[in-house]
């Protein structure tokens, strides 16, 4: 895909903003285990970067997904994966279904402020009982008059502590498990929503991750996204964008891992020469670069399919899988060349190493990606 001057200008504008306004603060946010999401989203929203491919009708720019992809990559230069992920949740994980299937009134109420950055959103799919088997979630939304009454627990919810609304998946029917769920927008200040705890994690530390109880939470049925009992299908659709975003952002973080490792090993002397001047080291880095480039190619193939309006599930699934695999080998491989510094808390590489480890788990584990792919190949065992 040929990127235009405007794509490049978008990337440069985001990178500059990150350099000046975000990266100077990330160490504090990592230490605090949370970051000022409203403030950061507000600033990014003012630059138009939260509504890149969202409809103009609700304050978005209506550009094709390639622009959003450029932003996803640019956010990889935030020296805290958690901040980037939180923004990704807002733009490409909790809003795609709302944008596509939500009523105008619902979009007006929640999508518009998510685009300006006034609201922070979260996506509530996973539960304590399991995240891989989405069809088996337990949360229910029972109809009562014009409302839904929601009961259940959501787990691992990114932005959960600070969010203004949650795009929640709940059982709304008794039919087969893929046809009995709905996506419902729940304002987080509604009575009965309780943040049970903020989960302590090995990485993505600046991102708040919550366990959330829903106890007789009442929201109007008008808050349902699209048709009733179509939620599982909508969520599977929404996952494609989430997974592509994850792969794009991850690739950029891995590029940063390689770049900072080159810079470090060029300066660091061992046995009378820079670490980098060992062919063992520079060959390994070249190999990793080739793999990241291959991931980029796969990512952009997925982006092109989305732009062309095609179903990108297969490619997005592969991209997410490869991103997860490379997250482990590249981050670990780079960290190794930092010696003791790589194992210390204050090096750039150690944070990348911890942050990208999530890629193989969040948004569907590697094994879930493989399961999807075996179906495409007609070799699934279940």
């Amino acid at each position: 895909m040929e990127l235009t001057h405007e794509h490049e200008a978008t990337r440069q504008s985001v990178l500059k903003w990150i350099d000046d306004k975000v990266n100077p603060h990330v160490d504090d946010w990592e230490a605090a285990g949370i970051y000022p999401a409203h403030q950061v989203m507000g600033a990014l929203g003012a630059l138009g970067m939260l509504g890149v491919s969202k409809p103009e009708k609700f304050g978005g720019l209506g550009l094709d997904f390639s622009y959003a992809a450029v932003v996803a990559e640019a956010l990889g230069s935030i020296k805290s994966g958690g901040v980037a992920m939180s923004i990704g949740v807002q733009t490409d994980m909790c809003t795609p279904a709302l944008e596509k299937h939500g009523s105008d009134a619902l979009c007006e109420e929640f999508l518009r402020p998510a685009i300006t950055g006034e609201y922070v959103g979260c996506i509530g799919v996973s539960e304590p009982g399991g995240g891989s088997d989405v069809a088996s979630i337990r949360t229910t939304a029972r109809k009562d008059g014009g409302d839904y009454v929601i009961n259940g627990t959501k787990m691992w919810i990114t932005n959960g502590v600070q969010a203004d609304f949650c795009c929640l998946l709940a059982n709304t029917g008794d039919g087969p498990v893929h046809r009995n769920k709905s996506l419902i927008v729940v304002p987080m200040k509604t009575k009965g929503v309780e943040i049970a705890r903020k989960i302590d994690k090995i990485g993505m530390r600046a991102s708040d991750t919550a366990q959330i109880f829903f106890d007789d939470v009442r929201v109007p049925q008008a808050n349902r996204i699209g048709e009733e009992n179509m939620g599982f299908i909508y969520q599977m659709e929404q996952f494609q964008i989430e997974r592509l975003w994850g792969a794009l952002n991850n690739a950029a973080m891995l590029q940063r891992a390689i770049d900072c490792t080159i810079a470090y090993t060029r300066e660091r002397q061992v046995f009378g020469k820079p670490v980098l001047d060992n062919q063992y080291v520079n060959f390994a880095l070249a190999e990793m670069q080739a793999e990241v480039e291959a991931l980029n190619a796969l990512n952009w193939r997925g982006v092109e399919m989305v732009v062309a309006g095609q179903d990108a599930t297969r490619i997005a699934t592969m991209a997410k899988l490869k991103a997860g695999r490379l997250a482990r080998t590249v981050a670990d491989g780079c960290l190794q060349f930092w010696g003791g510094m790589g194992y210390s808390e204050d090096s750039e590489i150690s944070r990348i190493f911890r942050d990208v480890r999530l890629t193989s788990i969040g948004g569907g584990a590697d094994e879930v990606m493989l399961r999807i792919l075996t179906r495409y190949m007609g070799i699934a065992s279940d």
Binding site: H5, A9, S13, L47
Partner: protein, 252 residues
Amino acid sequence: MKVLVPVKRVIDYNVKAKVKADGSGVDLANVKMSMNPFDEIAVEEAIRLKEAGTAEEVIVVSVGVKQAQETLRTALAMGADRAILVVAADDVHNDIEPLAVAKILKAIVDEEQPKLVIAGKQAIDNDMNAAGQMLAALLGWGQATFASELTLDGDAATVTREVDGGLQTITVGLPAIVTADLRLNEPRYASLPNIMKAKKKPLDEKTAADYGVDVSPRLEVVKTTEPPVRSAGIMVESVDELVSKLKEKGVV
């Protein structure tokens, strides 16, 4: 009134410059280039004047290679109204000297009749700190260099200047040339809507010949060298050893 802002495409301030093997200059092949940071400040100041209703139009000009149009697009995305690109070189390594730039700018000023020119105080590539001053001389206009604050009042500009001893405040009659220092303002980031709008803003392409200016260099670069590398230090075991080493070196 119109405000004219000259902008230069230079090596990005984050890039570690490398000298070309033949020592003729800094290697710019495949190197990230950006708008000179002081020019960005100048553009920002001009846009603020427009937003405040003091200026009607902000025109940005760049003299250099064709790729400088990217720099102009950046300025348009920040909020400038139109751009003039003066192609004066076809190789990025061919830097146009301040006097030639000033002559071209003078021709453009004669044509456009701005009441104010805001330039960066210097370009970070060769730190000449000359084009603004030369332009003032060629036009016979007043100049206020190293501005850290600018207020317009009728036909005069009050400018606070960063000078060695502190701050100096002067008043210059318009038309005038102001050159921007680091603390004049904090330039904005181009927003996505403005990046898309910039696509449709006019960008005129001219050549140095259109203005009858000879851009051939008058200065000769004799040699360019990397700054000397700091040699590695040594570890000493004790204060005694430190003192004796310092004595050896003749520093104490």
